[in-house]
């Protein structure tokens, strides 16, 4: 039987007076030869395949998270590595990609809907329901007031020019598909993304 001892404990024990090799002979052995700080840190992690969203090379990412999806146990990403199978990046990441955890967990991440009322100097927390109701009301009022069905030459134009939409070039194809569908069904033309900026 081998006692389970972490590497750190093992070296501590060693430092306490006995030579490590003799301890191993006594049945105290560290985890297998691949043992390293990284191994311990990552063992038991869930690994999720993802793609870096910084530039457009599209490097493969492996996101390591803890948690087993059971109730009250929230997954938490705590390590990121390059995907060694990826034919372009082959496991490497640039200084941005390697540090992407600091983006995912940035202190600037938003967590609740907020509103800034006209003329106010502060944010106020609101519920999703209130936010979406108020925004939808603004949209409908503006669309109804300013939608153009025919231009001055009698051409059917059916467009709405007084509200515009900037879409995100870091969002997924699926987000983009739904965005385009919704925006055009409303008749919007002032529609753009980072492709031209």
């Amino acid at each position: 039987m081998t006692l389970r001892v972490s590497r750190r404990q093992f070296f501590k024990l060693g430092a306490a007076g006995m030579a490590s090799s003799s301890m191993a002979m006594m049945g105290f052995a560290p985890e297998p030869a691949v043992a390293s700080v990284r191994h311990f840190k990552l063992s038991g992690a869930k690994i999720t395949r993802n793609t870096c969203t910084y530039c457009s090379v599209g490097c493969g990412l492996l996101l390591y998270s803890r948690g087993d999806a059971s109730i009250n146990n929230i997954d938490d990403i705590y390590h990121v590595e390059g995907d060694p199978d990826h034919p372009v990046s082959r496991g490497s990441l640039c200084p941005k990609g390697a540090g992407v955890l600091d983006f995912i967990k940035s202190r600037s991440r938003l967590s609740h809907p907020l509103v800034r009322e006209p003329g106010s100097n502060e944010w106020k927390r609101i519920s999703w329901n209130e936010a979406l109701n108020r925004i939808a009301r603004h949209m409908k009022d503006d669309r109804d007031a300013n939608f153009v069905t025919q231009d001055e030459n009698g051409n059917t134009v059916n467009h709405w020019l007084t509200t515009g939409f900037l879409a995100a070039s870091a969002s997924s194809n699926e987000t983009a598909t739904l965005t385009h569908k919704v925006v055009r069904s409303l008749g919007m033309l002032a529609f753009d993304n980072q492709a031209r900026v």
Partner: protein, 808 residues
């Protein structure tokens, strides 16, 4: 990219111009280094600054920002006059032999048809001479004085070595050296790849710079080749996807376009876009436009789209302006013509030119909705941030909503890299707090609107009430459902022309070949058809085997169109169907069909003897040296000065003020007054990005902010000496529109240039750092930049403008 990242390793020569991939795309750049090690390739860097790419290049040449057409136009002249072009390729695969209309001409910097009042061209004469059947006339000897080849030769005869040196400021021995290295790739079996990014696009002549690069590649026979192509490295991770999906003012998914107001007739709209061949029998694949269009309308409007109502043609908004791009929209906003605005993962206050104008414009809005994972500058445009952003909140009546969204790590989906690969990813963790995916926010808004239109009525509710919504959980459409939707499915059984069943009703379509114009197929984006078939999600594939050993991993993810990795790859083989050279073999004719390492970009069973051209999307089947009416400022690229020029004139046309800057560029009068002159602002400035930062995101990330904590500008040591600036001093950089303060990095990497008899100093300004986040606060770089864009795309001229540098 016409090619792909790994393919760079197959190049013999890499031209990095209008980009600095070692800095901005470091992992992709490893394939450049691989080409150097493996293929003995050489790397050329042409850039205003000696960059990280320059540092590992075999040869670096400095250039004045915004003069790339001059540099490459001179190269075209040199290639033609010294007869270093790939003759067989040029005669067979380009439009060099086609004859242009007699009325077409170019004089004193302007092409025929210029209307100085409107600032636009009538492009009537920019066309080939056609015969009775509508086919272009040709002269295969290339001797006809009006054939494209001779006209191009004449056009660039003005681009002499002397003129290039005068305009670009590049020392002549360096120009000559670069041209000689490039000319070597005209030899069969030698290929050059061009890597460019925003350094080419962000100019008032950006699109034409890229066209000049494409002409060079066609003359050298480098298009469609292994290790060749014109490769846009692109900026954002899914900018390719958003472009493919048409999230731009005038587009529909798959590069289809919205109608102009005058295009009232559906049939005429389709016929205008169904591009008929200009040479007999050519493929001209856009001839199937209606199949793509009708399938899109079925995808959006389902049963409501019928042949009787022209597939809901009237429901699509019609254009009254060429584009409703961001400059156009923010200009209208500044005039009070816009009431509401959505910023989904986009930070326009930081990203758009002339920040003072953008702030004033946003202040005119009634409501602003920001959907973002981060606390952006835009969301707080109304808040006083002191010296970095000074406003009075009480005067700003905009209601601002800030909605928290997920980021990539918290959602499933596909993003498309610059090589057109759709790669699927999976969520690893839930988002912080109450943050929601964008699709859920859009779904929530849309359902509220739909409900209100149903209950209250309102203006033109039809498209809102009839929009398809085939999602299991209507408030939260699933990424896999949306992906299946853009791939498309059959609404009825689909048969081929011989009556064979291609696809049963209800099945996912195998590819866009199955699309029909009779309403029997539904497809959200025709070029993505094949991404999620009956075989499942092709974007999630992870077979990285490379059977031919040339970096072609067709089993990894999925690339549009139809999993093809190198566009125009028919041109990699000779007219007779054999590869130009064995070590550049990509696809070839095996006697009965096209086979090889890539999915052939050609009808699979059409033999070489049919003589069809390899560029199957073009009406001529050939690479277009002559752009016809497709570009705003002319069929051949011409050098025009940036709107803020450090020499104040165009040396090519010193006596014609109309030809100083791009004559077809759109400039709003109020912005013209905000252009500075070189007398007042003598230094030529260009903006750029750093490897440690990504736009305005990473100033919110601690590690990145530790690596590059503070705003700086790069100033050449000669200029610094003149101005008494030492390394580390604080300096103020001003333009006609605003100023920024930053630390001076005094460097030998930027050299003074001799341009048209003057000394021009260039200044490099990174764009990162604003007034939010964890890095040191700074005024946004776009305080400085001019409000004018490229004449075709309206991409702002961020790369060439005038500033004055002073020591603080």
């Amino acid at each position: 990219m016409t090619n792909h990242w790994v393919d760079i390793r197959n190049a013999d020569l890499i031209l990095s111009m209008g980009g600095n991939s070692a800095e901005a795309h470091p992992v992709g750049f490893r394939w450049v280094m691989e080409a150097k090690y493996r293929n003995n390739a050489r790397l050329i860097s042409v850039d205003p600054r000696f960059t990280r790419t320059g540092a590992v290049a075999d040869f670096h040449a400095e250039i004045r920002t915004g003069t790339d057409i001059m540099f490459l136009g001179g190269l075209i002249n040199y290639l033609i006059e010294t007869d270093q072009i790939h003759h067989e390729y040029v005669s067979n695969y380009t439009d060099a032999a086609l004859i242009v209309r007699e009325e077409f001409g170019f004089e004193d910097g302007l092409f025929t048809g210029f209307d100085a009042t409107a600032g636009q061209y009538d492009k009537e004469t920019w066309h080939y001479e056609v015969d009775e059947q509508g086919f272009a006339r040709r002269d295969d000897t290339l001797q006809h004085p009006r054939c494209v080849y001779q006209l191009m030769r004449q056009h660039y005869s003005r681009y002499t070595l002397d003129m290039v040196e005068t305009v670009c400021g590049t020392p002549r021995h360096k120009i000559q050296r670069v041209w000689d290295m490039i000319a070597e790739t005209a030899r069969t079996g030698q290929t050059m790849t061009i890597l460019y990014a925003l350094g080419w696009t962000q100019h008032s002549i950006g699109s034409q710079i890229i066209r000049t690069g494409a002409i060079v590649q066609l003359l050298l026979g480098n298009m469609g080749m292994l290790g060749g192509g014109v490769n846009a490295l692109r900026g954002h991770s899914n900018i390719q996807g958003l472009t493919d999906l048409g999230l731009l003012s005038n587009l529909l998914p798959g590069y289809m376009s919205l109608a102009k107001a005058e295009e009232q007739d559906y049939r005429a709209y389709i016929e205008e876009r169904v591009r008929q061949p200009l040479l007999p029998d050519e493929v001209s694949y856009w001839r199937h436009y209606e199949r793509f269009h009708v399938s899109l309308m079925k995808s959006w409007f389902g049963d409501a789209a019928t042949e009787a109502n022209n597939w809901c043609y009237d429901w699509l908004p019609k254009l009254k302006a060429d584009l409703y791009d961001v400059l156009h929209t923010f200009h209208r906003m500044s005039l009070g013509e816009v009431n509401g605005y959505f910023c989904q993962g986009f930070n326009p206050l930081a990203s758009f030119p002339h920040k003072a104008k953008v702030t004033a414009a946003l202040s005119n809005l009634k409501y602003l909705v920001v959907m973002d994972p981060l606390a952006t500058e835009t969301a707080e445009f109304w808040k006083d941030h002191g010296e970095y952003h000074s406003v009075n909140p009480e005067e700003i009546q905009t209601e601002v909503f800030r909605l928290p969204t997920t980021c990539f790590a918290e959602e499933d989906g596909a993003i498309v890299n610059s090589a057109r690969w759709l790669q699927w990813h999976w969520a690893a963790a839930p988002p912080p707090g109450e943050a929601r995916p964008d699709v859920e926010i859009l779904g929530g808004l849309f359902h509220r609107l739909q409900y209100m239109y149903r209950e209250e009525g309102g203006v033109f509710p039809d498209p809102i009430l009839n929009l398809t919504w085939p999602y299991r959980r209507p408030d939260s459409p699933g990424p896999s459902e949306l992906a299946r939707e853009y791939n498309g499915w059959a609404l009825q059984d689909v048969h081929d022309e011989n009556g064979n069943l291609l696809c049963r009703a209800g099945e996912q379509l195998p590819d866009f070949g199955a699309l029909r114009a009779d309403g029997s197929t539904s497809c959200g984006c025709w070029i993505y058809s094949g991404a999620w078939t009956e075989e499942g999600n092709q974007m999630a594939r992870r077979d990285n085997s490379d059977p031919y050993g040339i970096g072609m991993t067709l089993g990894w993810a999925w690339s549009w169109p139809v999993n093809r990795r190198i566009l125009y790859n028919r041109a990699s083989a000779r007219p007779d169907g054999t590869p130009w050279s064995q070590d550049k073999a990509l696809i070839w004719w095996n006697g009965s069909r096209w086979v090889g390492a890539d999915v052939p970009d050609f009808p699979k069973q059409t033999p070489p003897s049919a003589g069809l051209g390899p560029f199957i999307m073009n009406q001529t089947g050939r690479g277009q040296l002559f752009a016809r009416d497709r570009m705003a400022e002319g069929p051949f690229p011409e050098h025009y000065e940036p709107f803020e020029s450090p020499i104040g004139m165009n040396p090519l046309h010193p006596d014609n003020p109309l030809a100083k800057n791009n004559p077809a560029a759109r400039v709003f009068e109020v912005d013209r007054e905000n252009f500075g002159t070189f007398e007042e602002f003598p230094h030529a400035a260009t903006t750029y990005r750093l490897t440690e930062h990504f736009h305005f995101w990473t100033t919110h990330a601690l590690l990145n902010s530790i690596m590059q904590p503070e705003k700086f500008v790069e100033i050449g040591s000669t200029l610094a000496e003149e101005l008494g600036i030492e390394r580390g001093d604080r300096v103020r950089v001003s333009s006609k529109r605003g100023y920024i303060d930053a630390v001076a990095v005094v460097t030998k990497r930027i050299r003074p240039l001799q341009v048209a008899g003057q000394t021009v100093h260039q200044v490099g300004i990174p764009i990162h750092w604003g007034f939010k986040g964890v890095a040191k606060k700074a005024r946004l770089t776009n305080e400085l930049t001019p409000f004018v864009g490229d004449a075709n795309t309206q991409t702002p001229e961020f790369k060439s403008f005038l500033v004055r540098v002073e020591k603080l």
